[in-house]
């Protein structure tokens, strides 16, 4: 069951599982019904290809005119003034906020998710294993906007002492300097924490699936050598599951990069005049939250184009991350077959 992720780490193309393609049906494919049905099925497949292609084409087509009018370098400018006669907009700040929040989410969620998956597959007593998995899956059922609202109204206040604690220990590093403005719950750091909760079920679900596939023979080989449970996990489970963990992390990253509402609600915006600060205890806007905040103000083609350009960069980022995850999964298949 692909469960909440909508994707299986073990998906393979038909025939890939050693099952021969059914040739017996060849005789019937000339019938009218077969041609129509087969055509519909193939058409749906082609529709999916067309859809993804169109996303790229439309976003590019509408971003390009705005980019041509841009008075600053789109890739290197921190400004974001997309309207008016002399639009100036660049993505540096957006990229910084997007990558920072996502990386914070990864740093928390990947180890935690893998540990939870190990718990469910290796440590939990049999009666607890399934309910535990279902509970973690439920985290994925809470909508993004509820996470954001909850973070703002309830959980955020408890992040204040965390931020102060980090600042007092690591504050000498430019990344962890907490000045108190904006308040802790409106910072990149807290948005990252909330994102971590949101991608945790994805990482857990995929890791769980891979850990479940570790051949008993490998686990028993380790145990028979006198390995403790933890040593068995390190010698047999983790090496086997590594590609799966990597692709799980990638998929989690893809989700974190594009997550919109929770981040939009939490992050406090910066003024255009503010100097760049490298601390994670600063506000900002990610690609997604910038677009969401402007959702009601797409009044001119120029302005819309600028936001679509930002959306395009986000699309390319997630495309790369997801494609990489796919490649890792394919590699693993080649390795295990």
């Amino acid at each position: 069951m692909s469960s909440i992720t909508g994707r299986s780490a073990i998906d393979e193309l038909p025939g890939g599982d050693g099952r021969p393609p059914l040739e017996a049906d060849r005789a019937s494919t000339g019938r009218l019904g077969d041609r129509i049905f087969g055509g519909l099925a193939t058409g749906s497949g082609i529709f999916v290809i067309a859809l993804v292609t169109l996303v790229g084409v439309f976003l590019i087509a509408q971003a390009v005119p705005s980019l041509m009018n841009n008075n600053v370098n789109f890739l290197t400018s921190r400004e974001w003034e997309p309207a008016g006669a002399e639009p100036r907009f660049g993505i540096v700040d957006l990229l910084w906020a997007t990558v920072t929040t996502s990386l914070i989410a990864m740093v928390i969620a990947v180890p935690l998710g893998v540990a939870v998956a190990l718990f469910i597959t290796q440590y939990a007593p049999t009666w607890l294993s399934k309910p535990a998995a279902a509970l973690v899956d439920l985290l994925a059922a809470v909508p993004s906007i509820v996470y954001g609202f909850w973070g703002l109204q309830v959980a955020g206040q408890y992040f204040e002492p965390v931020a102060k604690g980090v600042d007092s220990v690591l504050g000498w590093l430019p990344f962890f300097d907490y000045t108190g403005t904006p308040s802790a719950k409106s910072t990149l750091a807290f948005a990252g924490v909330i994102l971590a909760i949101m991608i945790l079920p994805i990482i857990t679900a995929i890791s769980r699936e891979v850990f479940n596939q570790v051949p008993t023979a490998h686990k028993e080989a380790a145990l028979a050598l006198g390995a403790t449970k933890w040593e068995m996990i390190r010698t047999a489970v983790l090496p086997f599951g590594k590609p799966g963990i990597i692709s799980a992390a990638m998929l989690g990253l893809g989700r974190a990069l594009g997550e919109t509402l929770a981040v939009t609600i939490l992050l406090s915006g910066l003024n255009a005049s503010d100097a760049f600060r490298s601390t994670i205890f600063n506000g900002g806007a990610t690609f997604a939250s910038k677009i969401a905040l402007a959702a009601n103000e797409f009044d001119s083609a120029q302005k819309t184009g600028a936001y679509i350009a930002a959306g395009l960069v986000l699309f390319i980022l997630t495309f790369i991350v997801n494609a990489a995850a796919r490649v890792v999964i394919d590699r693993r298949k080649a390795f295990t077959e």
Partner: protein
């Protein structure tokens, strides 16, 4: 019958209480690491439960009382201001359900047919590309889906922002979930069934329609319900494509329509208690609907005829 650790009668007692050292056992360090790992894994699970319990607790505590009022299920927010108590969420619940239903109506045929293509027809390069594109579609952020539909629907064709456009955006997000879950279910159908059908002279398309899909039907329904649960909570495309309204609206092609996510979004920055209460109420209602779909999906999946 003697138990596990019973001392054998003939053996002298001193020799039957072995120490691990006799076996060149593990050093203290190894045992310690093993215990530490065990504690860490349990800890990780308990930590993962904290946000779940906390968020459900908060929502229930702050929004639960709203759902107990009859008005919540019977009235809209028409004429209610942030300062005033009262009104209900019926407009938003209705909007969310209508949009979800139409989204499902569009995505299920496309999704199921794509899965049928991948499992029953697809060979070679085209199938590989389709499969890859489904993965990419899975990863498209919902805000990009919203932007894309905006770029087509509003900018290119010049239409108004309409609820139906939301359905198109949600369709993009739902199709990959339906494809993947259906694909897995179809793969579970044993080849013997297909061959048995062919041997009876049934053409391929009928075999798929009458044998393969019915055999995996409950699994497919589960996938659809889980996919629906996923898109129902999506808010980003709604922000771009469907402005909120407080009144009951059922026309997908006629202007504004309120939904639960936009109802939350509308008042999320309010400081007035009546408005905040309604936001929590809407959040709880949305979570409940999504949970119900999830549970329903899993229950149906349990009765699946094909076991993995």
């Amino acid at each position: 019958m003697s138990t596990v650790s019973t001392v054998g009668e003939s053996a002298p007692r001193a020799r039957t209480t072995p120490t691990n050292d006799d076996f060149g056992g593990r050093s203290g360090g190894r045992a310690f690491k093993d215990q530490l790992a065990r504690i860490l894994m349990w800890g990780a699970f308990l930590i993962a439960l904290i946000p779940l319990v906390w968020i459900l607790g908060s929502t229930l505590l702050k929004g639960g009382h709203m759902l107990l009022e009859a008005d919540w299920w019977g009235k809209s927010q028409a004429g209610i201001t942030a300062r005033r108590e009262g009104g209900g969420a019926v407009h938003a619940i209705q909007g969310t359900l209508i949009q979800a239903l139409v989204t499902a109506l569009i995505s299920v045929p496309i999704g199921v047919l794509t899965a049928v293509y991948l499992v029953e027809y697809g060979r070679g390069r085209l199938a590989r590309v389709v499969s890859f594109m489904v993965d990419i579609l899975t990863g498209i952020p919902s805000i990009v889906a919203g932007l894309f539909i905006y770029a087509v629907w509003v900018t290119t064709f010049g239409f108004q922002r309409l609820p139906i456009a939301v359905c198109f955006a949600l369709t993009m997000l739902m199709i990959p979930t339906v494809v993947r879950s259906t694909e897995e279910m179809l793969k579970l159908v044993p080849n013997e069934l297909r061959e048995a059908s062919y041997a009876l002279g049934v053409p391929k398309w009928k075999t798929i329609m009458k044998i393969v899909i019915p055999t995996s039907f409950s699994g497919i329904v589960t996938g659809i319900l889980l996919g629906l649960a996923r898109v129902m909570g999506e808010t980003a495309p709604l922000l771009i494509l469907a402005p909120y309204t407080k009144v009951i609206a059922t026309d997908l092609f006629g202007g504004l329509m309120g939904t639960l996510p936009t109802m939350i979004n509308q008042d999320r920055d309010q400081t007035l208690q009546p408005a905040l209460d309604r936001v929590w109420g809407a959040a709880l209602t949305l979570i409940l609907i999504i949970f119900l779909l999830n549970i329903l999906g899993r229950l149906i999946g349990r009765f699946s005829k094909v076991k993995s």
